[in-house]
Amino acid sequence: MLLIPVFTGLLGYAIGRLRNEFSFIGIVLNLYYAVRLFFRSRQDIVIYKLADVARIPVFFRLDKLSGSILLFVAATGILVILFSFRYMKNWKGTRGYYLYMLLVLSGANGVLLAGNLPVMFFFWGALLVVLYGMLLIGRSGADKTACKAVVVLGLSDFVMLLGIAILVIKNGWIDLAPRVPMGLYDPMMVAAFVLIVVGALAKAGSMPLHTWIPEASRTAPATVMALIPASLCGLLGIYLLIRLSVYVFNIGSNMVLQNVLMAIGAVTVVAAVMMALVQHRVMKILAFDMISQVGYVLIGIGTGTPIGIAGGLFCMLNNSVYGAGLFLSAGSVEYWSKSDEVDKLGGLARQMPVTFASFLVFALAIAGVPPLNGFFSKWMVYQGVINIGGSGNRLFPFFLVAAMLGSVLTLASFLKLTHTIFLGRGPKSLAKAREGSFTMWLPTAVLAIICIVYGVFAYQVPLPDFIYPSLPFCVEPFGIWQPVLTTLLILISLGIGALIYLFGTARKPIEVRAFVGGEKIAESEEGRVTGAALYSSLKRLPVISWLLRLGAAGAFDLYNWLMKLLVRCRCVQDIKDDKRAG
């Protein structure tokens, strides 16, 4: 699992002509072993000790949690690489692309299989190096993006290293799955937990360490966005958070930490989706929506209740599915449009029906519309939040409202996006757009099917196979929700609606004056309503407009603060240099 992607990636890099073939072999073998390890993990915990180096045991562990996530990483990897074969033909300087992709998968496998924190950190840090190289591939300005990512993630990784060092020195053991989780009472242990969580959150893309993701969406190929921030980084970051909060420590033992985690989650959910609403580039909208979804996972884990943590884990897996799907769908569109600006898109539903249908499923899933997977996982998170209310946490209404509001705003964001890309009248430049080769539409279709299956058959597939076995506690039955029955009812309702439509309005089309809720219609060719200006009134609301302005100016960006400090130093030096020279 660690070496195969590296070797095939290097072979593909060395023999450039065969890089697609070698990448495919590598990714298929990776999936094959991931499946084998998944089933192996269901039987027993597997430990493989490599050596003792400087009194630290170097060993790997496969358990049910790591087995499940391994399978998800491998499955997402194969779909994204399959998509890349056609998509990346439009990009230049991609010799190292497949090598980096495979190295990323190898590093991710290493993180998931690591038995203790130092071994995990070895692969975690290696991912930063590969990510840096990968982000250098892209549009003009990719160097600045890569620089930003490596500085932000590097800082958070070093902070994490400090936390690991505290654990190693003060506690003596650093196992990622000890027999008994530790209570979070000792201040040093709390400090270690917080420092390691900072690293995990930065990788997952939680606020305020999220800023490298929207920046990457500006320059990186859609496939890179689909694999790394949308899927892999989120999976790994949240995987580590679950390991820490459930296996290594017992987060339920410290209510302050729980509330801090949930507060970060709540702010991330609402603030990120608000930013998404006012963006004008498809990739950036998706990037902010992905960040927003991380907030749900944090709220779920922060509850410290079995149902909340299970919901958080389910949310994480779902995010990787519809996150990757959304970016790949957007990539299919961008393949033809050569741009992701919302003003230049529209009317693609007829030309790209599979992509449209897939995108619609992803959009509804991420917005938490029943009966799709996003609804189910969010519903579990809501249950967890309500449970902590019953345990005396008075802040629970705030977290619940934030989570529900986030869901509504996500739906609003995707209404805009779906309309902008697929509905209405398209520009002339997209007249030749059509569904790409099967390597492009198949991955999105597969991911869309997973979204449906995981929602409709939640009790039959994801919960018993992936979620419940991955947690060290039992999840009590919760609430009443019958997704199969609900789906049938929804389908019947839709059928009746379709009949009414066909025998009613469809036969007698009427033309009415377009009403856009008082919003200003964007001035564009052919009088198209692109949806770019939708929700622009948000920018005029008193407090929100101020916050959005600050956000757009980079006031909440840690990197900006660092760079301003650096520029100030540089300016002083430049003035001195000029004086010396002149």
């Binding site: 400087a54 190289g133 890569a146 590097g154 400090l162």
Partner: protein, 397 residues
């Protein structure tokens, strides 16, 4: 006085010798191509003297002899530095070296006269008082890291050939580490001395990292980085703990190889573009992709990112620092972060982006090969880090 002038060594000495020998060999190979002219023969003679005296310092079991070998190496370096500039320009560099050497000598003589022996083997278990130990410590830091006039190093490297820069960061600066190891890890010193040493080293590392941000030249940034990394090594050794010392000595290897490689790379970029001003550079990755990749690998090793050797060394030092106190741990993390920012900035400005109109002349493939070899050693050192760590472990224990 009992004075044995023989040479001997254990695992740690052998480790230092391999590192110095490798960096010396690489520097020699690099210089064979890059150094031409009438004074080339003198340059190579002094290069051999420098490498030989550094090996002498490593294997000496006599403190006076270690000091003498270090001085010979410093003299050889001084002559090599004058290869491209006037000796008058270097006069004040010599004076700072002289003062630092004076401090070391005064401290050593005080210790030797009290103990009536110069043999390191006979120092085991003896206690050294604070004042002479402090004199030696400040002298070592002044000669190796430039305390308190660290800007001196940047002046020293201003016009020096790249091969010399590699020798300074890879060998001469590390002879101080050898003396530190031989003296302070053998005798009993007051705890306060090691605390002072750790704090001084950490402050130097952080300040040098900060100063690098203000530099606009490749040499300026690399020089500050050199000081910062040397400070980090002394931080590890000052912990007097297993992880700290192991990390510090491993980092000598990682840093000597990687920093020497970066100096070679910088020399190649200067030769190709005719400038070392980073604002006038850019786009090097398109013109010299192999050199750019190798340079990135060397930079990652110095920063301490896996899978490069520097990672394990940094890990050990951070563990040691946290063991000593959380504030030292935080300082160590800050120093690493500053290294990251400095080197990423250097790499971005020189190799990425579109770049100004500077023309890139073709680079010599043999010289690029040396940089690549050093990058591969940094990478292989990471994958096989357990070999040096296992080798050093018993020696340190």
């Amino acid at each position: 006085m009992n004075a044995w002038f023989g040479l001997a060594g254990g695992r740690v000495e052998l480790f230092f010798a391999v590192v110095f020998g490798f960096v010396g060999l690489m520097s020699l190979l690099y210089s064979v191509i890059s150094i031409r002219g009438k004074r080339a023969i003198a340059y190579f003679v002094f290069l051999m003297v420098l490498v030989g005296s550094s090996l002498g310092a490593v294997f000496s079991q006599n403190l006076v002899l270690v000091f003498v070998f270090w001085e010979i190496a410093t003299f050889a370096l001084w002559r090599m530095l004058s290869f491209r500039k006037t000796e008058q320009h270097l006069a004040w560099v010599w004076w700072i070296d002289f003062v630092a050497s004076g401090l070391i000598l005064a401290g050593l003589l005080t210790i030797l006269l009290k103990e009536k022996t110069a043999n390191i083997g006979q120092f085991k278990g003896i206690s050294v008082s604070l004042v002479p130990a402090l004199l030696v410590l400040i002298g070592i830091l002044a000669k190796s890291v430039g305390l308190p006039l660290h800007i001196w190093l940047s002046k020293r490297y201003k016009d020096a050939p790249a091969g010399v820069g590699a020798l300074v960061s890879g060998i001469v600066g590390n002879i101080g580490v050898v003396l530190f190891f031989k003296l302070f890890l053998t005798v009993h010193v007051p705890n306060s001395l090691m605390t002072i040493s750790a704090i001084l080293a950490l402050v130097l590392s952080i300040v040098a990292g900060g100063v690098a941000m203000r530099s606009n030249t490749m040499r300026g940034i690399l020089t500050c980085s050199t000081i910062s990394q040397s400070g980090f090594i002394f931080l590890g050794l000052s912990m007097l703990s297993f992880y700290g010392i192991l990390g510090g000595i491993t980092y000598v290897f990682a840093y000597a190889v990687a920093n020497a490689g970066l100096f070679f790379s910088m020399g190649l970029v200067e030769d190709a573009t005719g400038t070392g001003e980073i604002r006038r550079l850019g786009g090097g990755a398109r013109k010299a992709p192999v050199l750019a990749t190798a340079t990135a690998m060397l930079g990652f090793s110095i920063i301490g990112l896996p899978p490069f050797l520097g990672f394990f060394a940094r890990l050990g030092i951070v563990f040691g620092a946290v063991d000593e106190g959380i504030l030292l741990g935080i300082g160590a993390i800050l120093a690493i972060f500053l290294s990251l920012v400095d080197l990423v900035r250097l790499y971005t400005m020189v190799f990425l982006g579109d770049g100004p109109s500077n023309e890139w002349r073709p680079v010599n493939w043999f010289l690029v090969g040396i940089v690549v070899l050093m990058a591969l050693v940094s990478l292989a050192g990471g994958f096989f880090a357990f070999l040096p760590i296992r080798f050093l472990g018993p020696g340190i224990s």
